[in-house]
Symmetry: C2
Subunit: 416 residues, 2 copies
């Protein structure tokens, strides 16, 4: 049995709408049909398990939905496993897709999905995840500290490589292409890999520390994406940024089966599915698909991000990607990002169960530190040390000059 | 130059928001960065070309966006071609994805996309399209008439085959699996193909008419989807239903390069991207991606559909899929569907430029005709004949009994 929870809203009857969702997504049609026997219904019919009423809304989530009050409820609907199976495109099509098209609802949001035991082992899941990310970076006992090459777009490969050289020297554990950088004319991936990887390998030779560099390998064509993957792997790279919503389930499934790289997911475009609280889908649901498909590291914004997403939503996302579906091996490494500079370390730590199992990604927060990126990395490490020790940043900064300088620069606003 | 048009809404300044979108999606970040030279900006910077102000909204599209008035405008933003290239995942990531995450907007909808000459020939496009669909079905001079096996789910292969046999005898040109039917335990695709195809081929032998049957081959894993494709092709089938949003760009690109089947797109799940008029994306934009990727036939609802979508939206979708991007070969065959029974033929014909180049898909409207599916097909053909001749259906029904009986049954409501 596969159970979905929908938050529904309607000027009509909640019970009727719930029944309609169950019917439409399984046997139902608007006209009585020959052949719709009881046996058939038992085979595939979805059932409404529970309805939990919520306070009415005065405004409909979808404008033009008639006059209120708009009744709201959380509704659990169960689908027989055999009607769907373990294919994720069937799951999405049957249990989610069609629900958005139903007439008479003024809002619908998929807020939970419980997969049955049959899904255990049916999908590859993360190849590296938390343990693999730690093993490859050699970072234990603290967050993996990452940064992003900035400016986001426009640098030629040799310019990117020069900047990467500086970031490696600065002591970061992880560097990534901006998600918008894939293989444009001014920086073809092949040339970027060729320009960047020698510096990474050279640093590894000298220091034993291999910086994980995530190259933007996304391509709508899985064959092209695999060529991109192979370029990175053959040059000694170990990570890739994948824009999951732009490549789709198919791109991700194809890549994961053949991948030798840590797959770092960027969910660019995702917001439109979740930003309106009465519509779309919670990340808690969406991330399940991608973890089963094989995401190793999941970007989920952070405390005080520069985007629309509220902190509470980030905290829920963090909890989602770190909660096992079937075992801890299917968890992704959470990547806190967007506007991070270290100042958010205490709150991040306190609100995520006091874990240091995360990739903490700072763009401008490291690169634009007034004393350079090396100082930027030290400041972030100091902030996390303070967070773990439970010391206020301002106090810790008294004898940690890099953190003090970060607070001066970023303390009243946001980094990028 | 790639030009996107966004309908934006904000309690703040339209001009500032437009500039921010252009900046965020190309060079921009929140902190001034080293290396952001003028030369680099010229290489990748997006530019605001035009702002067309619209009347204010009193309610924000996204609740909790502060107090109004909410200013609205259509904004054209141009991206340099070299910053994106022709990869559709880059196009989606750069020109669309990140825009949904920006703070300070109370609504954003992508309403147009103009691709430059460099895209001509860069993607496979439809392999069969309108001409191929006509050639394979042998239908000229009128709409291709299709139906859907009902009930949607739950029939075993032999039960489906029996129903298909009846539909073939009824004289339909096209039959499809419901989009929710892929390869469940009670009807594995291999068995369904084996049960259905002999009847189709037998009928072709006897009559010369090969009914086009669209099998549900979607699978999140492109390798599995290709196996499904091959099952159909090897058994003599010539069409497949693909749930484009569930397989993603990657699944579609992979399939199209290797496909010998007509690809019939179902856009299940699409509604959540377009149903709220202030958010998401117009179908006019979305369908461009899928036509470039290779959709041959595009389901777009119909007049008086049983879903939420208004008729005007269907008409715009029809125009979208039949308007060449670069040549008429890249058009998809529009598939009018949902609640169709023939009664909508006159309005469909009048409002789509008086064309009969469409697949007209009736589920219950054929299957549940009071005198059986054969009469149902004849009724639909009669309705289209009346539409083309400009004769009112009620008049035409006087000496066309099947149409008269359809009007009796479906005339006051909807078929399915």
């Amino acid at each position: 049995m596969i159970t979905l929870t929908y938050r529904i809203e309607t000027p009509g009857s909640i019970e009727a709408l719930a029944a309609k969702i169950a019917s439409d997504q399984s046997t139902g049609t608007f006209v009585a049909l020959p052949g719709e026997t009881e046996e058939l219904k038992a085979r595939v019919a979805a059932r409404v398990l529970a309805i939990r009423h919520l306070p009415d809304a005065t405004q409909p989530s979808l404008p033009g939905s008639g006059s209120g009050p708009f009744r709201r409820a959380d509704v659990d609907i169960a689908f027989p496993f055999d009607a769907i199976g373990t294919d994720l495109s069937a799951l999405r099509t049957i249990a989610i897709g069609g629900t958005y098209s139903i007439r008479g609802l003024s809002g619908i949001r998929v807020i939970d999905m419980k997969l049955p035991e049959q899904y255990r082992g049916a999908h590859p899941g993360p190849q590296f995840g938390v343990a693999g990310s730690r093993g490859l970076t050699g970072v234990e006992g603290r967050p993996i500290i990452g940064t992003i090459v900035k400016p986001a777009l426009g640098l030629r490969p040799h310019e990117t490589a020069a900047m990467v050289g500086e970031l490696i020297e600065a002591g970061v554990d992880f560097i990534k292409d901006d998600e918008k950088l894939m293989s444009p004319a001014y920086s073809p991936l092949a040339e970027r890999v060729k320009a960047i990887m020698p510096g990474i390998l050279d640093h590894e030779q000298k220091t034993g520390k291999k910086v994980m560099y995530a190259f933007g390998i996304s391509h709508a064509d899985p064959d092209e994406m695999m060529r991109n993957h192979d370029l990175v792997l053959q040059a000694g790279g170990n990570c890739a940024v994948v824009n999951i919503n732009s490549i789709g389930f198919g791109g991700m499934a194809f890549l994961r089966k053949r991948s030798g790289l840590v797959l770092h997911a960027h969910r660019n475009g995702w917001d439109i599915l979740t930003r309106h609280p009465g519509l779309g889908m919670d990340f808690k649901v969406w991330q399940q698909f991608w973890r089963l498909l094989g995401v190793d590291q999941f970007q989920i914004n952070g405390i005080g991000s520069k985007y629309w997403e509220p902190d509470d939503s980030f905290i829920r996302s963090f909890e989602a990607v770190t909660t096992p579906l079937f075992s801890s091996d299917d968890c992704a490494l959470p990547v806190a990002c967007s506007g991070q500079w270290g100042g958010q370390a205490p709150e991040t730590y306190e609100r995520t169960g006091r874990t240091v199992d995360l990739l903490y990604l700072c763009g401008g927060g490291i690169v634009s530190h007034p004393d350079g990126p090396g100082a930027g990395v030290r400041a972030v490490l100091q902030a996390w040390q303070a967070a773990v020790e439970g010391i206020a940043l301002a106090d810790y900064a008294r004898d940690h000059i890099e953190l003090a300088r970060s607070i001066e620069k970023f303390g009243d606003g946001k980094a990028a």
